[in-house]
Symmetry: C2
Subunit: 412 residues, 2 copies
């Protein structure tokens, strides 16, 4: 509220030196908490900036990447640039690529599977890049995700970087939700391989106790951003900018005007302290583990994807709905039976989706808990997420009772 | 502060119906206050949206325009699209065009001159478009300005629309600062011709007593925006969106997440009321007129551009610095004298720029007033702007005394 009330209009360093300097400082603090490679910090010739949302962060990095490559290859090649993500990558990537003028036909949402926990496979990436290069296209940008929107899957950063680097692809790591957890040493391993990435972002407004909007973006090479996004209108010219010794954040983002977001983050960091922040995050993960145990203890449910952080993805198991299976896929004795078994399984999956969806609607209609859904590999899952600073064990237990009550009602 | 405190995360209608509905309402209210054509309001199948800044508004409208035209002409023509503004247009246009993948060589900052008060001339626009078409390029987007950043010049909307319309160009009107004034009937004429424009934006955070950020954008054809900017990820699917009976603002802007900006505007509109808002705006214009009179009353100064709103652009006149002119341009008796006269005049202009710049630095260093500068047609001007709700006549008088005191010191 203070940051709103001050109504700072930070165009450049000059228009509010304090706002810029504080942002430099908190971004380095936060980068150190995350144990980011020095090359992402101001103290190591990289740097961080507060954007509104991940959408903006990706528009900016993608534009910078695009311009770097078009400078080498010629502008007429804009129609050949290819952007890579997985079918679990946030829709922000597709939208950002579209805004930046990338041909929608050159957007690759590489398929993931349940068997690999819906993570982007380096082999699939390699195969996709190979095909594109054969077609005369130019690999441009890869967005990897730590904690996907749907089910908090974690892409394997290091092997993906190993593939992408060979082609000079700009590698962005989107850790919008799960990045926060990485301030705890026991979760930091998810970031392994970040040394080879070009940019990294997470949203303090998701799971870091900060009000919307506050997306933290770090880049290893700020001048790539600046070369793409700088403007130098006369009315903003000033000695500080001309000296090139200050950071003019207008050249790191889409807009000219900017608010004093650093103050929000400063308050969060200073009022909680890193110790308390870790305590919060760990307690959320613990509560999610507790909920996961409850789900696993009831055979009518299935945990659909690994719980990496504080979100549990579950559904009503098809085995709970169809107790006496006559045909089992892969175990049928004749081809006809096998076909029937496949058909049956499809029907059972559909039924499971339908009941799970119905259950979610009932839970939310109760007003006692609010959960959301995702659709992964044809499976409808309920997402139970913990992230508020006031949530306690007993809330989790109550939520679980709401789930049980409504499933009982549906099944009876 | 309330809008910050609520921490509403409006993705779509469903995630906060109140935030969306209130935004629909205040945008129609404000549109009616501005006497916008019905076709720009929700009540007339257009609609308004609150963006952060003009930069975002232009990225969105330009992307929509780009996609409309590429759909007809084919994506391979992205390198042929041309964007038009004047040399007075805000740098946001160039940046937005760049982000949207428009070739920087196809950006036209059409020259304006002092003789036409630095307004974009329809003839110049026509000539520029003609040349581009001859070169096989495709006119895409025109940004006209009501109240340019440098000197609050007003482009002639109707004649410019008459030219641009012939080529199917998307016409945006950027009234970032001066749009506010148009809620007063006596200033509404500046918007004449808006019927033929495609989009119109002004910043409530400039001269409309609202905290940063709050850019009001209206479009005549929301579906053009939606077709370019919509995403439909599974986790956001809901019955309300599927019904197509609600507005999902995520499809009208760059980002997915959005804050509850409508509340800020609602408070401004409801707490002041249109009568008081007009009174404020008129009093600011009156104070600027008063300052302008003071400047004109002193022969050592020159008002450089017409004062259309509440900003006065002035400089130290070269005649004040060179009282006994020996050579006068155009009146010399020989060619040599004429050349000498031209050279002299150039020197005098430079000297005037230098003294004016020096004066501005002294004024701002005094801490008693803060003014800014612009450079138009080679002329360095000081911009004196009134826009705060607490400014009164005596402040203007005091500012003028600061100006006088420092000029006296410089000239002595």
């Amino acid at each position: 509220m203070l940051s709103t009330g001050f109504n700072v209009v930070g165009f450049n360093w000059m228009s509010s030196p304090a706002a810029t300097e504080l942002e430099n400082i908190v971004m380095d603090w936060l980068g150190e908490m995350l144990n980011l490679p020095k090359s992402f910090l101001f103290s190591g010739n990289g740097g961080g900036v507060l954007q509104g949302t991940t959408c903006e962060a990706i528009v900016c990095t993608l534009t910078a990447a695009r311009d770097q490559i078009l400078k080498k290859k010629g502008r007429e090649n804009i129609g050949k640039l290819v952007v890579y993500g997985s079918d679990q990558t946030h829709s922000a990537l597709r939208k950002a690529a579209h805004i930046a003028g990338i041909d929608p036909n050159n957007f690759r949402a590489i398929e993931t599977t349940k068997s690999s926990s819906f993570c982007l496979s380096p082999d699939s990436l390699q195969a996709t890049i190979n095909l594109d290069i054969e077609d005369g296209l130019i690999p441009l940008f890869l967005c990897t995700t730590i904690g996907t929107t749907g089910i908090t899957a974690v892409d394997p950063i290091q092997p993906l970087c190993d593939v992408a680097k060979r082609y000079g692809v700009w590698i962005h790591i989107d850790a919008a939700y799960a990045g926060s957890a990485c301030i705890c040493p026991e979760f930091r391993h998810f970031l392994d391989g970040i040394e080879d990435a070009d940019s990294f972002s997470f949203n303090a407004h998701k799971w870091f106790f900060t009000n919307l909007d506050c997306c933290c973006l770090w880049v290893r090479n700020p001048s790539a951003l600046i070369q793409s996004l700088s403007t130098n209108p006369e009315f903003l010219r000033n000695k500080a900018s001309d000296s090139k010794e200050v950071v003019d954040y207008k050249d790191w983002q889409i807009t000219l005007s900017r608010r004093f977001r650093a103050l929000k983050l400063w308050f969060v960091l200073r009022s909680y302290g890193v110790g308390n922040l870790r305590k919060f995050l760990r307690s959320h993960v613990k509560m999610a583990e507790f909920f996961e145990e409850l789900v696993r203890s009831d055979k009518r449910f299935e945990v659909v994807a690994p719980r990496n952080f504080s979100m549990v993805c579950f559904r009503v198991s098809s085995s709970a709905l169809f107790k006496n299976k006559k045909y089992v896929k892969g175990k049928a004795v004749s081809d006809d039976d096998e076909k029937l078994a496949e058909q049956k399984e499809e029907e059972e999956e559909e039924k499971s989706n339908e009941v799970t969806k119905n259950l979610l609607e009932k839970i939310n209609a109760s007003g006692k808990a609010y959960m959301t859904h995702a659709m992964v590999g044809g499976i409808y899952v309920i997402r139970f997420a913990i992230g508020a600073s006031l949530t306690e064990d007993h809330h989790v237990m109550e939520a679980w009772k709401v789930v049980l009550r409504h499933l009982d009602a549906i099944l009876n």
